[in-house]
Symmetry: C2
């Protein structure tokens, strides 16, 4: 039997586009003599549809799309992810379901059992968990259908769950496991995912066809990487990461077809690709083409420019150089050199006149009070106003260049350098920013070396350095990683060898900046714990603050 | 038996303050000869503690506080809400628990069964549901302990749940139900809550002691209103709304003590009180004293000023009048009159010079392109910069004055009038803004009548009116209410009699403004469906957009 894996990029709520894309893939698979085509979780509406799912009208549109798609399954079967109304009065309103379509109609429905409700996942907010298990017979093959998290409890070893769908389904002696996923990227997720797939085929001794969604949905980046793994745990088919593909797998050949083991790509390359896709899809799905950003001569904005040029094309990215009286000559020169290296447009717009105009307006009130954070922030906000004026006048979307270290400790100006439609580096620590910059320069200088080698500075007062206010980034990032990603507390951090005073100071900065992050743009998620929808904190809370 | 109801205002994560407050209430109750004092849900850490709960160190601090509190229960028993580690490997890491403390130790633990996971609630993100039911014997009384949502499934009539805690507990013939709650305010919640309490006492024929948290936690405002209801459904004790109190109830007298039926307060008064408490606690819990806002002469900023003066004291609120070339004389005069009526400080800071300075800087790029939204937003952003400069220089917190109608349709400037630490009116429709303004004027003019009677205008271009870009608010608000609060779709709205073209236009504006609301300040929640943590939408989604 030939099975097609349809790894596609859906647009949440865009039923017309998603339906056409799914139908085109069905027809394409049929032309290639596939007998079954497998799509990803909730592909009809896109994942995550979030609170759209609470609208009856939205669910009705899902059902309409499903019926339309079913018409194209006269000769080929299709497994399609779609929410459905819970027919019982009892329980949550919806199931997260996989519809087996064939001969133009719904032949079977599998509902999702394990509903992730942690980090970025909110599935128990919407869905009732399944409790019935039935494998499907199709053309002499018995198929165990599972949806994403359903395979993340192997032999009931996952303490989060008390039910193990595959322990139930294996009793019916299926010939293979099929999994419809919407599993978002993080730099550890690819390995975790392959580990889980291999644990399943090893535990249950059947091959698995695993189809993941690809494409970014605001913060969340889905990396695809769909795969067929035989019962020996060998990879029989590997679909690409970060791009769409329809691939035909021949079931009879799975057992013996083994791809050469690929060296998995270095994390830096994965993160680079994820960020590029994240920018690309934010623009394409919102219907925008052109980006703008403020180029300071520092490494963060330099990296964002490179990523934006890769994602949108050099003709669609505009940089503003916005020097103040505290900007250094070399910053300006470095920024220009970068634009020239990339062949992108830039304009220089000195902010001194606008800054001085505010200083004059404020003088009757500020009088002779010393220059402080008010004047520092004022410069950043004048830049924000100018960037947004270009955005409004010419239809550019402003890219935010704040990195995760800065976002963590609140080192940035709200309504100033924290402006933007999308925070490209908000989940990338400063030390990782350097790694990606070096990766971009791997075949020669794109980012001027001066930008990489100089000491980081906000240039908001004379001779300012980040290290005046913050610990060195190599220490800071280690503490932040342990606190944010690993949720270690102050005692554990001190036990790891970090100085207590420093730990207390950093944790206080992190918890005390919640109000600022609350108004930050959405952040492209590349780590297992990003600021944003997956980390829900109390603004007025006093913990370690 | 004498039971004390401790309706207190907790600070999330502030273990020292919460512990001292709880111990003081225990001592106070003991002095009044109470034998049991009942606190509210998760009072030790405050509710909602959100992702702080994922830190082992945070849970350890909860346990330390609990042990400290237990020492003060030698002669009096206390029911205290506190998270606890799930001792089993299987399931979520925590239980949401009520600890029965007596004779200096933990005598009994009741875990929460029903875990709300909808709207603003995320409890299944953190907690394992309880499955064991055991009433407590204390001094000849059998007590059925329940936690908040546990009583919201009466006789298993709530389709969300399959277990009914009171159906289980009633088998043990308890003498009364005790409920520890953290039930946030909305303008319908008080009536819903009393209905549920009465349904319980009627169904199970036992009285209920219901203790709710009071005080605001950023967006969420807890209104207290703790109550003792006898088995006839009569209110035997009623604690105040929106303030702390310790009240002693005599169990033997509950059956026959019936308060005169109180006319419930009008919604407008409840919303007013909630907003005042919301402002007050945002400032007190974050350690701030002084507020600033931009006063336009319009009704939204006028109302925010009145609320802020009530919450913080007139000496702690500063208004900036920020006229542009398009501001009318009467707006300025109205704004000044309001400040004089309230006896609050204001300064007039014309924005024309700063605005023109930007126009000059931008001229080489904008050339002779017509005045449009870029210049409109520029004025709003100059105001934002000036307000934030005052905030940074003098330590004021900026109050945002956007109302729910504007927030819904995206009628506002990001980084301009959308700036602020707290959005006071973000859950109050424009038509409700007028109602509250009239309520404030109920004993005479506080808000000048001109402010209430004139047509709303952003005054960002000559003779601008809100009605140039938006439907009239009385129609707009009705459509918004049906779409946002009631989740009605376009077909249902048309069936209600709204014009299809208008419905499509409004829904498109709402869904197309998600990116803007995503960067809005936290919004004080007063309705059953507020923008913010209880409404989780997809920015790049295309549904009705």
């Amino acid at each position: 039997m030939k099975i097609a894996l349809a790894q596609l990029n859906y647009h949440v709520g865009n039923f017309e586009a998603n339906t056409q894309k799914i139908i085109a893939a069905i027809l394409n698979a049929e032309r290639q003599n596939a007998e079954l085509v497998v799509f990803s979780e909730l592909c009809i509406c896109g994942y995550p549809a979030r609170d759209f799912l609470e609208f009856d009208d939205f669910i009705a549109q899902c059902t309409n799309a499903l019926n339309e798609i079913a018409k194209h399954t006269l000769k080929i079967a299709a497994l399609v992810g779609c929410p459905r109304k819970n027919p019982e009065k009892q329980g949550k309103d919806l199931y997260n379901s996989a519809f087996f379509l064939y001969q133009g109609e719904v032949k079977h429905i599998t509902d999702k059992t394990l509903l992730p409700t942690y980090d970025i996942f909110d599935e128990y907010r919407y869905f009732e968990p399944n409790k019935k298990f039935e494998a499907i017979n199709f053309k002499g093959q018995k198929l165990a259908i599972t949806i994403c998290e359903d395979i993340w409890n192997v032999g009931n070893d996952n303490p989060l769950y008390t039910i193990c769908p595959m322990d139930e389904l294996i009793k019916q002696s299926p010939d293979m496991i099929i999994n419809l996923s919407a599993s978002p990227f993080s730099y550890t997720q690819h390995e975790d995912r392959l580990k889980v797939i291999r644990a399943n085929v090893s535990q249950y001794n059947v091959p698995m066809v695993y189809v993941n969604q690809v494409g970014a949905q605001t913060e969340l980046i889905f990396d695809g990487g769909s795969v067929v793994v035989n019962e020996k745990g060998e990879i029989a088919e590997q679909l690409p990461f970060f791009s769409e593909e329809l691939r035909i797998a021949e079931v009879e050949e799975i057992r013996n077809s083994k791809l050469e083991t690929q060296n998995s790509k270095p994390q830096v390359e994965l993160i680079y690709s994820a960020l590029v896709l994240g920018i690309h899809d934010y623009f394409s799905k919102l219907g925008f083409k052109k980006a703008i950003l403020g180029l300071s001569g520092g490494i963060d904005s330099a990296l964002v420019l490179c990523l934006a040029v890769e994602a949108l094309g050099k003709e669609n990215v505009m940089s503003l150089l916005l020097p103040s009286g505290f900007s250094t000559e070399h910053s300006l020169a470095d920024a220009k050199k970068l634009c020239e290296n990339l062949g992108t447009k830039y304009e220089t717009v000195p902010i001194e006149n606008n800054f001085q105009s505010f200083i004059q307006t404020l003088h009757p009130f500020f009088k002779d009070l010393p220059f402080n954070v008010a004047e520092e922030n004022l410069q950043a906000r004048v830049r924000g106003v100018l960037l947004m004026a270009f955005s409004n006048k010419f239809g550019y979307i402003l890219l935010n260049t704040t990195n995760k270290s800065e976002a963590a400790v609140g080192y940035g100006t709200l309504y100033g350098d924290m402006c933007g439609g999308l925070a490209v580096l908000g989940d990338v620590y400063k030390t990782q920013v350097y790694e990606i910059a070096n990766y971009i320069n791997r075949n020669g200088e794109v980012i001027p070396l001066d930008i990489i080698s100089k000491a980081p500075s906000a240039e908001l007062r004379p001779n300012q350095k980040d290290s005046d206010s913050l610990p060195e980034y190599d220490v800071l990032d280690k503490i932040l990683f342990q606190y944010i990603e690993k949720r270690q507390g102050p005692k554990e951090l001190v036990a790891m060898g970090f100085e207590k005073k420093l730990v207390d100071r950093v944790l206080k900065m992190v918890n005390g900046s919640e109000w600022k992050r609350n108004q930050a743009p959405p952040i492209l998620r590349v780590s297992p714990k990003a600021f944003g929808m997956g980390r829900r904190m109390n603004i007025e809370g006093k913990y370690l603050g």
